[in-house]
Symmetry: C2
Subunit: 687 residues, 2 copies
């Protein structure tokens, strides 16, 4: 039974990777036929790959130390955790590498394709995104199946082996993915904001040259930042969520009351769902074309919703094949593990819609910020923060409803299925997410290489479509982070073997309090990191303008590499402390305060983190779009006082929405996974 499932998982992973490879080959076959475009996009490409290379090199010692710790800290079968951790880390890193490599090849080709019209440009940009999306899905499915195969072959597949060894080994895979994700998000987030602020503040404000001007030494770093932050960072984030929800569901499958056989079937079900969703995503990706009749927005919607509907339908035969005729566990019906898939999907879409409602251009909340911009920067900030804080209510209520409904149908396992359901069409979702920055970059290249205005119009439209769908994508990222964190911490309780965690225990309360403060500490460190990194970038850009006056006249090529090197060095330097806290806090609290305090910590960090992350992401998004509305003529238009106030809002919002907010999503998952991995050690100490 398990081997069949492993086979399906590996086959699914290979199919996804082959599809990604096919799309990648097709992209690389496209021509750009423009030496200037080649030159500039070459800078972006090599900058991005250099960053990734340095990042991975910087992470290698960390990965080795953690693997060594897992090997030494455990004994017997559990030592396999070290291996599964390594596989998880490498798979996540590989997904980032593939995705970025192709994304940085797709941007210039999108610019070139836009010369022939909207449809070819959409096809190239979206294909670039699809490589990222399907690489992630493929590596998750193949990776998790291979680790399961290794664990089962080395340990055994009887009941005791599964619960005591195989599942803890699986959590090692999740830890590997989470670790890379945290650093990718943080490092990428710091890189991109440092470059962005540096480019804007000196280039736009001081020197008065437009955005994306090739004379700006930080312009390339800025474009590199979009790729490392939005493509690789987002990919790693959702890689982690997907792995976390799968591993959590597998662990919780063994917590139900039922026969061993049904538990194994329940464990396999999420993997099968993932494969079905992957196939549905391939169909969905194929549907994304305008065909001359649809707008790009409609094409993307068709792909996303088409895949979701297909996956919902496709799950039914899988469900029947796996479970019909087998006695279900107590209190769970056959269909009781189907509906949560739909709840998860619906909640993801719902959160996305609320996100759009609060941050979308022309919506009431953003209009209120535009009005506030007219009275000055202070009211702009207060109003934007109010919008973000208010907006947190609705996603949290939706997440709570999903937990409630999932639990009502199939207990904690039902909640886990809902989390998997939310990510089941990750392939197409992530393609849409990654497509946005590619289109954005293509536009930037069009400006830097003086392409005709029509090209910029097409890339602008593609980019703006990307913004709306990105809101929905963010909904999935936030919702899945919350659900994944909750099922991981429930899994931890299972793994640590504690029957009851009493909230009246003061140690639990202390844990909750300490947990609640960690996302704030983490955000503070991330925002300070951006400040430090941006400061160095500002100094460098000023120095280049001063020492090489030819740059501004266009007679001298700026030293792009130095700016990239500065952003890279700062990002890698500054991500250490927050990263260390994320990994270290659960270990410290677990060993010093005990399992009860650790569960409290995880609950506190999840509840506080989810709300803080939504608040930061949505405030940032709303400020961004308020600025865009003013730039299109509202409230006085470009250059007005309102516009200046809106720039202040946008600048405050940038680290909110692109660094601290998304990094908290990973923080809450990572801390639960760390707890999960050390659970056997804690249990051994406690028992």
């Amino acid at each position: 039974m398990i081997y069949t499932a492993v086979g399906i998982g590996i086959a699914g992973g290979v199919i996804a990777l082959l599809f990604a490879a096919g799309r990648a080959r097709w992209i690389l076959k496209q021509k750009t036929e423009n030496p200037e475009l080649e030159r500039i996009s070459g800078y972006v490409r090599s900058g991005a790959m250099t960053f990734l290379e340095k990042e991975y090199k910087a992470l290698a010692p960390f990965v080795i130390v953690v693997a060594a710790f897992l090997y030494i800290g455990n004994d017997g079968h559990l030592r396999l955790q070290a291996l599964s951790f390594l596989i998880g880390a490498v798979a996540s890193a590989l997904a980032g590498f593939f995705g970025m490599r192709i994304a940085t090849q797709s941007n210039s080709r999108t610019t070139h394709a836009a010369l022939s019209g909207m449809d070819p440009a959409l096809k190239v940009a979206f294909s670039g995104g699809a490589v990222m999306g399907m690489s992630v899905v493929g590596l998750v499915l193949a990776g998790i199946s291979i680790v399961l195969l290794i664990a089962v072959r080395r340990i055994g597949q009887d009941a005791t082996s599964m619960v005591r060894y195989v599942l803890p080994v699986m959590s090692g895979f999740s830890l590997g993915a989470s670790s890379i994700a945290l650093f990718a998000r943080l490092g990428g987030g710091i890189f991109t904001k440092a470059a962005d602020v540096g480019a804007d503040l000196v280039g736009k404000v001081e020197a008065g040259i437009p955005e994306d001007d090739a004379r700006n030494p930080a312009a390339i770093a800025d474009n590199v930042g979009d790729n490392v932050g939005d493509v690789a960072g987002m990919g790693a984030d959702l890689f982690e969520s997907f792995v976390g929800s799968l591993v959590g569901a597998m662990i919780l499958a063994f917590s139900v009351e039922g026969s061993f056989e049904i538990k194994v079937r329940l464990m396999i079900y999420p993997i099968v769902l993932g494969v079905i969703g992957m196939l549905a995503s391939i169909v969905g990706i194929g549907l994304v074309k305008t065909g001359g009749r649809r707008s790009p927005q409609q094409a993307l919607n068709l792909g996303s919703f088409g895949a979701a509907i297909l996956a919902s339908i496709g799950a039914i035969p899988a469900l029947l094949l796996l479970f019909r005729g087998h006695p279900m566990p107590e209190g769970i019906t056959l269909w009781g593990i189907y509906w949560p898939v739909l709840f998860g999907l619906a909640a993801g879409i719902g959160i996305g819609m609320f996100t759009e409602l609060f941050t979308g251009t022309g919506r009431k909340p953003v209009r209120s910020i535009v009005r506030a911009c007219m009275t000055g920067p202070a009211t702009t900030i207060i109003t934007g923060m109010g919008v973000g804080m208010l907006s947190a209510l609705f996603p949290v209520v939706l997440i709570a409803m999903t937990i409630f409904a999932g639990h009502a149908f199939a207990g904690l396992y039902g909640v886990a299925v809902a989390a998997v359901g939310m990510l089941v069409t990750l392939g197409v979702q992530l393609s849409v997410d990654a497509y946005g920055p590619i289109a954005d970059n293509a536009g930037g290249l069009a400006v830097m290489c003086d392409f005709p205005a029509e090209v910029r119009d097409i890339t602008d439209e593609l980019d703006s479509v990307g913004n709306t769908t990105a809101a929905v994508g963010k909904g999935f990222a936030i919702g899945s982070a919350a659900l994944t964190a909750i099922i991981l911490l429930s899994s931890f309780r299972e793994s640590a073997g504690v029957a009851v965690i009493d909230l009246a225990d003061t140690n639990v309360l202390i844990g909750v309090l300490l947990g609640a403060v960690i996302p704030y500490l983490f955000s503070a460190l991330a925002m300070n990191a951006i400040g430090t990194a941006a400061f160095e970038m500002i100094e460098e850009v000023r120095r280049q303008f001063k020492e090489s006056p030819g740059i501004l006249k266009g007679t001298q090529v700026p030293d792009y590499d130095r700016c990239i090197a500065i952003s890279t060095a700062s990002a890698l330097e500054q991500m250490r402390l927050p990263g260390f806290i994320a990994v270290g806090a659960p270990v410290l609290v677990g060993f010093m305060g005990g399992i009860e305090m650790l569960v409290g910590l995880l609950v506190g960090v999840t509840a506080s983190g989810v709300v803080l992350a939504i608040f930061m992401a949505n405030s940032g998004g709303a400020w961004d779009n308020a600025k865009k509305m003013i730039e299109t003529g509202e409230g006085g238009g470009r250059g007005s006082d309102a516009h200046k106030a809106s720039i202040v809002g946008d600048t405050v919002g940038d680290p909110f929405k692109d660094t601290a907010g998304p990094a908290i999503n990973i923080l809450i998952k990572l801390m639960s996974v760390v707890a999960l991995v050390i659970a056997p050690i804690l249990q051994a100490r406690g028992g």
Copy 2:
């Protein structure tokens, strides 16, 4: 035994009130001998009292409805909750009334006394604060003792009566105090910020007249706001904390394992501690004079720390009298209920010191904001938010340590004793808190009435001393709110009769998630309320300047009353929705989701609220002081770009630190108290 305690409590309350009355009489005997000062301070006085009157009138229907609900919803002895609720509400309102009445009499007398020097001015201002401080302490002690007396006489003092009826009736008193506190803080906070923003934006920025200029129609409203926000609001806040910690400790006294007699003694102990602290506070207040040798700061420190030391020593004989020779409960030693008093006091001081470290003028974090101001408003905001977020770590760790230590010595009861210990010298603490706005107002009056510069120098020094000690006071407010909320929610669990609240129960997790979002919702509503109220104020001030050109020339008296009326009306209107949410959320969740979800909600709201409140308060404080540093010449001084950026920071910080932040302190306590009050009803339904 109980009657003796009631006697001590009532006697203590009467002593405190007599002391307050004596100080009040002395203040009223002081002369001002300046008709202009009389006229202007008369406006402030009548504006403040009008606001208070209208506020209480607006709250009367709410109080009556809740009392009716408590009467109808309960039956038998529990109907007394309605009466104790009314007594709590009236006592809290009376404390606010006394405090404000004398504070608004003290400000002009302080201005006048400053003509004779520092010492007389300090004496008047501090006496004004002491009236507030001792009124609060007296009304708490007398009120709680009277309610206990009534309950015991009507119900009985056997074990069953105490646990099932008397203690729930006590929680009604706490609810009364909390309800008034929430509206006082919210209403006062909205009033003061609307007036402040209106006065600054039109007066200072548009018309270019200085702060506290009598030509500004909103200037009086601004001064009224200081009194209703900082004097009455702060008083109600700490009234509530003190009541909550006492009632929580009384309930938790009955949760220990021991004889009935020892439980009664444990229940009485907090009241006796309160009386000892009150006496120590009277001595401390007497110590506050410079005597020509000490600076005002040293005088205030002498009073505060003197009272704390005296109370610590005075608690020892009380402890021995109450407990020596009586068998202590299992696992608790005699001294085990003494040390937590000191932990509480130490934690309060520690939190205050960290607050000062992060928000004090000249400290590193504030210096970093000053540097950020030089690069513009956006970095000012980001840096200030980073400072506030980072600062939350230390108070939370101190609170966690206090809970841990209190629990280690005497279980949950030990935590409750720590909470009482933190507030034991409330009399002198609150005197220091209330003294600040009086000194500030005195300075404002000196400017408006053209007093010589020396007078302003003296009031400025008194005011700046007040700022530093206010930071310590804030520490006590935040720390006691957190501890009180935690013991109240523990008390709720006791009262609701649930043995275990399992964190793995998804209903509990849902409660925690929903709880975590409430402080954000509440803050968003409070900040939006300020925006709305300030907007009306801006319009009104503009209208007056336009329609009566004589105002700016000084030939026409502005219509101060209209501005006060606008602030009053908006504040009362806008406080409704957030107030309703605070009271309604626990009722709704309790009846729809059950006791487990309600406990989760309380834990979530407390953990998330404590952190958010500290972050907001400290960001606001740091921005404020960064602006002050720049105004004294740092970073370019007044009128520089850095100064403008610092004003943006300060304006954003105002609603943070004066409205949303402090209101969250009350929110977390109020929600726990609401739960506590409905506990018997919920238990009856559940059982």
